[in-house]
Structures are given as C-alpha cells and as structure tokens.
Symmetry: C2
Subunit: 400 residues, 2 copies
C-alpha cells in the first residue's frame, strides 16, 4: 500500500461528486452522484452471487459499452429481491440522472446498498437526484459518506503516479462492514482516475487488482447480492492512452490500482461489523497457489480462529484444524505456524512456552498469522477481522 | 426419530461401562470406558480433517480388523497436534485398557476430546484406567457424562426393534458443542447394539446413518481433528447374524441406527455453543440432491442467517443471499422461502405483510426454514443453531 495519500474519487482531474440525504434513511446521507466532465472509459466487477440485485443487472448491461459518465449510488436500500418493480426502479434512477445531467442514459451506472427485499422509495429519488446533480463539485468526501450502511467510517484514498511526464491520480471510495467475503467482497466501491485507458485494458487492470484486494478479505463469509466495483478513467491528466499491457506507464498504473484497492479493502476489514482486530493471514509453502488460497480462506473464515483473535488467545490448534479441513494438501509433521511473529508450531508440534509472547503480540490492533505448509512454493495472503459479541448484536438487530 | 426411548450405551445386552474423574480436568468427569462381554463386531467413521489427532490415527488402524471389545475415551485433552509423543500416549491408553481387562490390545479403540496441542497427562491415565476398569457396570449415563467438554448436557438415547422374534436394542452417546460441521461432525460418539452384524455390513450401515445424521448438522462450520463415531455390535440379543442388506431385519436395524444417530445429532445442535434455537433447514425443488446440499449447507453455516435466528428476525434476504452464493443452480424468480411455516417469498419476491407472523413463529425453541428452488426434485435437510453473543464469549475465553 505504498504511495497512498488522503484523497477521494474527486482527486483525479475531470471528476465531480455530491453526496446528500434524500430520505431513504431517516436522517443520515443516503445518495451519492459521481460525474466525469466527458464520457470516461469504464470497467466493473460484480458479485458472483446468483441472486443479484436489480442495479447489478442494470449496470452489468450498461458497462458493456465501455463508457460511462455518471455513477449514482444510494444506501439504505439494496433494491435486491424486489422483482420486476426493482428492475424498473433501477432504470428510473438511470433515467433521472441522465435527464438531470443532460447526458445519454447509456452513460449512467447505478448501484444500491442496504436492506434487502424492500422496494425503493421512488419519490425520494425523483426529488433527490436532480437536487444532487445541482450541487456537484469536488465533494468526494460527501459521496463516500453517502454510500455507507453499518460502516463506522468512510473508506477513501488516492495514489499519484507519473505516466510519460504527466501526473496521474487515482482516487477511490468503498463501503463495507458486513456480508463481506472473497469472490467480489467489496459490497460497493468506485475508483476514478484521470489516466487514459482503453476500456478492455481498464477491465483487465480492474480484475487483476480486485483479485489482489477485495477478493482477499473476509468479514463473515457471506457474499452480498449487490457487490459492485466501478472504475472510471477520464483521461483528463493528458497522459497518452494506455491500450496494451506493454505500453509505457501501464505497469505503474496497475501497481497504483492494486495499492489503492488494497488500501480500500483493508479499511473494509478494519471496519468489519463489530471488529476490534485486523488479522493479516499469509499461507506459504503450499503445494500450489490454489492450495494456499484454500488454506488461507479456511483461516480467514473460521469462527473459532476469529473468536480466539477477539479473546487474544494464541490458539494455534484452531488454525491447524482450519488448515486441515480446507482441502489443501497438508502434512501435519511439516506445518509451521506463527502468530504475531512468534513461532508457535514447528513440524506440527507446539511450543507452549511461547504462548505468552504470542498473546502479547495479539494485543496490537493488527497482527499476522503466518502458516508455512513446508510442501512447495504456493502462497496466498489476505485479511480478516475478529468475530465479536458486537457482530452478533449488530446482526441480530432489526433488519439491517 | 421415531421409537427413541431413554437409554444409554449399556442398554444393549452384553455392554458395561464406567465414567469417572482421573484428573485431566480440574474436577469434572473426564474418562469413560465401555466394554463388551466378548469381542464385538466394530465399525467407525472418522474426521475428514487432514490434521488428525493421535487417537484417530490409532483407532483407524485398530478398527480395520472389524472386532473390538473396549472403547476408552478421555475428555479435557484432545491429544491432537502432539506429534510422536501423542502417538505413543494413545497407544499407551490402548495398552493400559488391554492390561486392566486382560484382553488383546488389538481389541481396544481409543478417542480423545478437549484442548488441542497439549500433551496428555499420562500419569493420570496410568492410575485412572485401572480404577475405571474395576468399576464397570450398567453405568452408560456416567460414561456419557465423562466425554463432555463445553457441552451443557449429556447426549444419549436408545432404540428397540425386533429381529426374527428377538428384541434388539441400540444405545448411544455423543458429545458436541463446538467445532461442529458436516463431513463427520460428531466430535465423538459411540453406539452399541446387541444385534449380530458382520463387520463389513456394520460399517456400511454406520456410514449410511452418519450421512443422514451427524453429517447434516452445523454449529460453526469448523471441523475438528478428533471427530470419531464407533459402532459396536455384541450379538448378545441372540438374533441371527446380519450379513447382507437383503437379510430379514437389516432394514429395521438400519432405520433404527438412523433414528438413533439423528437423535444424538439433534441433541448436539440443541447444545451448540451458546445456542438458544434449533433451526431445521430443508431445501427442496433443487436441480439435484447435490445442489440441495450446497444450498442447505450455505444456509446452515451463514453467520447472518444464524444471527438473525438469534434475534428472531425473519430476514429472508439473508437466506436468499446464502442460497445465491452456494454454487447451486438458482433462478431467483422461482424461489420460495418459508420461515416457521410462514411463506415469506414466492417467485423471488417477498411478502412484507407476513413478517410479523414469521417473527412470532421464530419465538419457538425450534423452527423450520424451508426453501423451494422450483427447479427439480433434489432435496436435503439438516439442522443448525443460532449464533449468539454467548458463542463468542465461550470461544474467546481461555483455550477451550
């Protein structure tokens, strides 16, 4: 996550935004609009859940053209499992934005997050969207606030690089908190840049970055019906158009995008519902990368590992048990486990005398679990958070 | 679960047991011994976790001969991840039992449950096992008490059937509470019977029953390193030896075994760590049985479904989201969901007005979630419990 500076989706040139309250939620901000000065190259990744919300279905269709000029996002209502009416409502959001901005409806992307199964309050959007369109400006922070649901804080960041002598900026926002798991785990995110990138290459860069960021985090193993990340490239920085992975500057662009999406994904885990700890999990020495991923995901989703993290208990038996059930090739006699940098297991046998040192290391707000399977060169790393009483309280409460 | 009566592993003829405290735990019972009058036919299923505790490795070897006369089980220490010393300790438990009873060591099975990664206190067993062997009797209840860890109550039951005019009994015990998930989810269980069954057929009957009972429950999605179920058949009822699935009486025996193992598995879910609710999940109308299982397991392991159950919130959106990410074929427009018998979703769209009735039904200590995918004939059913603050408290505490 090198090079990250504070910034927003409006940090790149040619991007304006607004965020406000239109009445979907009782009082907090619930509507965000991000608009580029001219049609931008557009890319997106969506949830792999078979049950997909109406705005996912609509945006999937819209982004196919590779161009977009506006993204509208509401929080407080996911417009998911709302049937034909939901589809009509998502299209109406698109139309309202197109009309308010005087642009083609083909250039508008839409996303929603919040309660599932409740129809959108259309009238709120009919007045809210034109009002928001009238207040566009360098208000990326407002937009980031308006897309939150149970999040405790907005997730934003920016990266600056140079392409051919031109300063290029990437800025992003995300929302997270619950129903977070690899396989498009972002719930919602938007990244903008003033680089110029051909849509197919932009899509490839986004997929690569998501695979190394949003798809490596887990809060609770649930995957939402609304997961979406958009990437808009305005080209306003004046740098040469990137068309191929070999073009000068693309490697830097790709690195910056990975750094920014990892920064956003990390913030999602830090703000996991009820979380008090971030745990960086690395599995190395696996027979294959795929095996390392399996073992890593078994650890990042294990309720017993996550409750032990909450209790600051270096219970490495639970880590081994998770690895053992993951389906990855495991030879217990070769496994090494360290928690917070303290080597607790070597050759499958524990060092009880080192437990106090590991427990001490777990007092930090973020600590590492490293597992070396001792079998090959496969590796994976990702993040998870602890499982707390507050998570249960939050999610047993009224229809969040 | 028809035909279940109160009973224990000592209910079948030819089985004695003892349970007591040998000092592995500070004060509660921690050692059980079950012995048949003569060598019995023996079968077993074990954890599929690749990290397997020493007693699993030893009993896997022992049960291959198809005969056993004694089962020794300790709680308080799983003898897992204890390396070569753990293997020696498990064999010493076998030897101590063989010596105390004057039988061949080839006839002794061993199991352990409790903390992972701590060597067994051998001296306690060296005095404890002979003492227990001296107090054998119709003490199945004592034995069931002695195998518990974080369980709130012992899990026992019996079934009586008739085979060729002879009264045949099956009795069982199990322990559960945490690290419970399909794919041998029992932690530990022992079933005895005075039926006479050839070992290969006994193994087949056990595998069938486990597939319909222990492998259909989930408390927390974690799978232990020690899961074991043993089945001993003494033949003392005097009924004819069952050798083939076509033999008269085998169908009744199989049904009784399924009923008893389901009864034990149901008790494990009811006593899931911190649980306040049992949820019976049925998925029907799936494209295949395998798809139904996938969708069913996604529901039984979803932390969001389980916290909603705790809060008695009929949040069907979370149920649909779990089904959607399960990998099962799903057409959202065809899905029907009912909670507590109240139809909340039809054709993928919710009936908000029925929510209060469903919330009312969820106040019962056990309620059903039924999902009809509307695609085919595949079906699956299983049980899970709610996810509560008490689960988190229990598992964030000191090295359970």
């Amino acid at each position: 996550m090198s090079g990250i500076v504070s910034g927003h989706v409006t940090s790149p040139r040619g991007v304006r935004a607004a965020g406000g309250h239109c009445g979907i939620k009782p009082s907090r901000p619930d509507l965000a609009l991000v608009v580029t000065a001219a049609p931008a190259a557009a890319a997106a990744c969506f949830t792999t859940n078979r049950v997909q919300a109406a705005p996912v279905l609509v945006s999937r269709e819209q982004v196919r053209g590779g161009r977009a000029q506006a993204v509208v996002i509401n929080s407080g209502n996911a417009n998911a499992c709302t049937g034909e009416q939901g589809r009509r409502d998502a299209w109406e959001m698109v139309d309202l934005v197109a009309r308010a901005l005087g642009i083609s409806r083909a250039l508008v992307l839409v996303a929603s997050t919040g309660v599932i199964g409740v129809p959108l309050p259309r009238e709120r959007l009919r007045s809210g969207i034109p009002a928001l369109a009238a207040s566009l400006g360098p208000h990326g922070e407002q937009a980031a606030e308006a897309i939150l649901t149970t999040d405790a804080f907005p997730k934003t960041g920016a990266v600056q690089i140079e392409i051919g002598g031109h300063a290029v900026t990437l800025g992003g926002m995300a929302k997270g908190a619950g129903m977070i798991h690899p396989r498009m785990a972002t719930t919602l995110s938007l990244v903008t840049t003033d680089a110029a990138v051909d849509p197919p290459l932009l899509q490839r860069a986004l997929r690569f970055a998501v695979g190394r960021s949003f798809n490596r985090i887990s809060v609770d193993g649930d995957t939402s019906t609304n997961d979406t990340i958009f990437l808009l490239a305005t080209g306003a920085a004046g740098a040469a158009l990137l068309r191929s992975p070999e073009d000068p500057g693309f490697a830097e662009f790709q690195d910056a995008l990975v750094a920014l999406t990892q920064h956003l994904a990390h913030q999602i885990v830090r703000d996991g519902e009820g979380a008090t700890k971030v745990i960086a999990v690395t599995v190395s020495g696996a027979a294959s990368d795929e095996d390392a991923r399996r073992a890593g995901e078994a650890i990042t989703t294990s309720p017993l590992v996550k409750t032990a993290a909450y209790g600051m208990e270096p219970n490495w038996g639970r880590i081994l048990a998770a690895v053992g059930r993951s389906g990855a090739e495991v030879d217990p006699a070769r496994v090494a486990v360290s928690v917070g940098g303290v080597h607790l297991v070597e050759g499958g046998v524990g060092h009880g005398e080192r437990m106090p040192a590991a427990a001490q290391a777990m007092r930090a707000p973020e600590f590492a679990i490293d597992v070396d399977l001792g079998l090959g060169m496969g590796s994976w790393s990702g993040w998870t958070c602890d499982l707390t009483e507050a998570y249960v309280r939050l999610n047993s409460g009224s229809m969040t």
